[in-house]
């Protein structure tokens, strides 16, 4: 299934750094996020967009992850050539990630 089925997401921007939150709709799916939405997978998912390191922060009390992606905004919001200079649409792209899940646990 797609990440979209179990999580919602929002993108924020500062300079050339984009952050994306990934928040479980249901607390019981938070471990799936922790196990499968890894920095390496996020980096691979954004091949051609994110040039720098991807760091993940965990927020177990609100069942959320926060990904901080360096060199992700075409040189920075204020100078990027991109149509979406802020990277606002990146969160929707991340929700396209495939998640393996045991169906009866969802």
């Amino acid at each position: 299934m797609k990440l979209r089925e179990i999580a919602h997401s929002r993108t924020g921007d500062k300079g050339n750094i984009s952050n994306i939150s990934v928040i479980a709709y249901d607390a019981k799916n938070y471990p799936l996020l922790v196990a499968q939405v890894t920095p390496a997978r996020v980096k691979a998912h954004f091949a051609g967009v994110v040039e720098g390191e991807v760091v993940r922060y965990e927020l177990p009390k609100i069942f959320a992850l926060n990904f901080v992606m360096d060199r992700a905004l075409g040189g920075g919001v204020t100078r990027s050539l991109a149509l979406d200079a802020h990277g606002k649409s990146l969160s929707s792209a991340l929700l396209d990630l495939e998640i393996d899940a045991v169906p009866d646990k969802i």
Binding site: G15, L81, L83
Partner: protein, 447 residues
């Protein structure tokens, strides 16, 4: 326990004004905050001020003030805003004049000045955080340097009886922290209380983004009555307790989900959200829905403030030229790709000098590039977009020209061409020792 209600009347300079009027009229609020200053807005405003010394503040200041001043004056609601941009004093004078023209000349307007630290940054030749280099290397491209000030000068203005407080560059959450410090007498070194105040400010500062804006996703995250989206209210107790809510009957929704998304918006390490007044810690926050459109946020903390102010440095970076044109019907995608190939080759043949070029098909791969969006089906229509970075305006203009001329020199059926060329004011950051900035409060009006 004492509580106050703070409304958030704008999340950026161009934001809608009607929800702010609704907050003032029906929100039962004591403070109305307008956050209107983007990263590079001060630099652009500074360029305007150089041309006209009485300009350089938010272009919507007059419209906003005219819409809310009479209501706020009648109800005793204090206004705090960073609409001063590059010229808070002129913005305050303008606001006082607007108040006088509406028979509200008793209103006391205060300007916070001193965020302009260009001279101090030049003298120290501070290193730039985003790339290897120092202030001096920006040479005559340097436009402005403004420190993200904290709450202290705004608190001073409120203590002095200001009805309207207008700042230039200040930390966005500090616009909300200041009324809390003023109302409750929070000590400026009670890091946990200040941290809680920053949580409130952070959740409120983007206005509609916590009440259902930037959120709706049909079937997954539905939001009722988004067209009449209401702006948020923070109900804050003197112990820092916080409930996010909105005006009854307004559109949108305040839920645990909207609050979680906004809590992490533009945050890097959630345990260290660095502010001029405190380093806030969001990592232990808990979020609980109390009732419809009432969400409690608890567990915010803080630690000692940093020894420096972050300074936003505006400079002329480059020029950008752009052109767009559309193709539709069978074969639209192939003709769009052909058009891009033609422009790429023509820019080479004619020797347009660029340091960076980008070729997009809007509707196909413009947002996330060919790799991420590789599996798209053939769309009914595509829009060609070519952008390039150049050293001067003359070169930038040539990029759009090579797209526009596709009308008569490109694939069949190209329509709706558009072109533009503009200079790019970019923003970088430096860290300035606190003692080198000297914010001051100046009162205007109130006769």
């Amino acid at each position: 326990m004492r509580t106050i209600r703070i409304g958030s009347g704008a999340g950026y300079s161009g934001d809608r004004i009607e929800p702010a009027v609704e907050l003032a009229e029906k929100g039962d609020i004591q403070y109305l905050v307008f956050e209107c200053l983007g990263e590079r807005t001060v630099a652009l405003a500074q360029q305007a001020r150089l041309k006209n010394p009485e300009s350089g503040f938010d272009p919507l200041l007059e419209e906003r003030m005219r819409a809310v001043l009479p209501i706020c004056a009648a109800k005793g609601i204090k206004i705090v805003t960073n609409m001063g941009a590059a010229n808070p004093l002129a913005a305050a004078r303008k606001t006082a004049a607007i108040a006088a023209s509406m028979n509200l000349s008793r209103l006391k307007v205060a300007a916070v000045v001193g965020d302009d630290v260009l001279e101090a940054c030049k003298q120290r030749d501070l290193p730039i955080m985003e790339f290897d280099g120092r202030i001096s290397q920006l040479g005559n491209r340097l436009i402005s340097a403004n420190a993200y000030l904290g709450a202290a000068p705004m608190v001073e203005a409120l203590a002095g009886g200001a009805d309207v407080v207008i700042t230039g560059r200040a930390s966005d959450p500090a616009l909300f922290l200041a009324p809390l410090i003023h109302a409750f007498g929070w000590p400026m070194d009670d890091w946990n209380l200040l941290g809680k105040g920053i949580v409130a400010g952070h959740l409120l500062e983007c206005a509609g983004q916590v009440t259902g804006g930037y959120f709706a996703d049909p079937l997954y995250k539905d939001v009722a009555d988004l067209a009449r989206l209401g702006f948020p209210i923070g109900e804050v107790g003197e112990d820092g307790s916080l409930i996010i809510t909105k005006v009854d009957g307004s559109g949108g929704a305040v839920t645990a989900q909207t609050c979680k998304e906004q809590l992490l918006y533009e945050v890097h390490d959630p345990a260290r959200y660095i502010q001029p007044d405190v380093v806030a810690d969001f990592s232990q926050i808990e979020i609980e829905e109390l009732a419809k459109d009432r969400v409690r946020i608890s567990g915010g903390r803080g630690s000692a403030r940093p020894p420096t102010f972050k300074v936003s440095v505006g400079y002329v970076d480059s020029f950008i030229g752009e052109g767009q044109i559309s193709y539709a019907g069978p074969g639209a995608l192939a003709r769009g790709r052909l058009a891009l190939d033609i422009v790429r080759e023509r820019l080479e043949l004619t020797g347009v000098a660029t340091s960076e070029l980008r070729f997009d098909l809007i509707g196909v791969d413009s947002l996330h590039g060919a790799q991420v969006s590789g599996h798209a089906n053939d769309p009914y229509e595509v829009r060609v977009r070519v952008t390039g970075r150049t050293e001067n305006l003359r070169e930038a203009v040539r990029i759009g020209n090579e797209v526009e001329t596709l009308y008569t020199n490109g694939p069949a059926g190209g329509g709706g061409a558009f072109k533009s060329a503009r200079d790019v004011v970019a923003v970088a950051s430096v860290l300035l020792p606190r003692e080198l900035a000297a914010p001051q409060v100046q009162f205007v009006g109130g006769t």
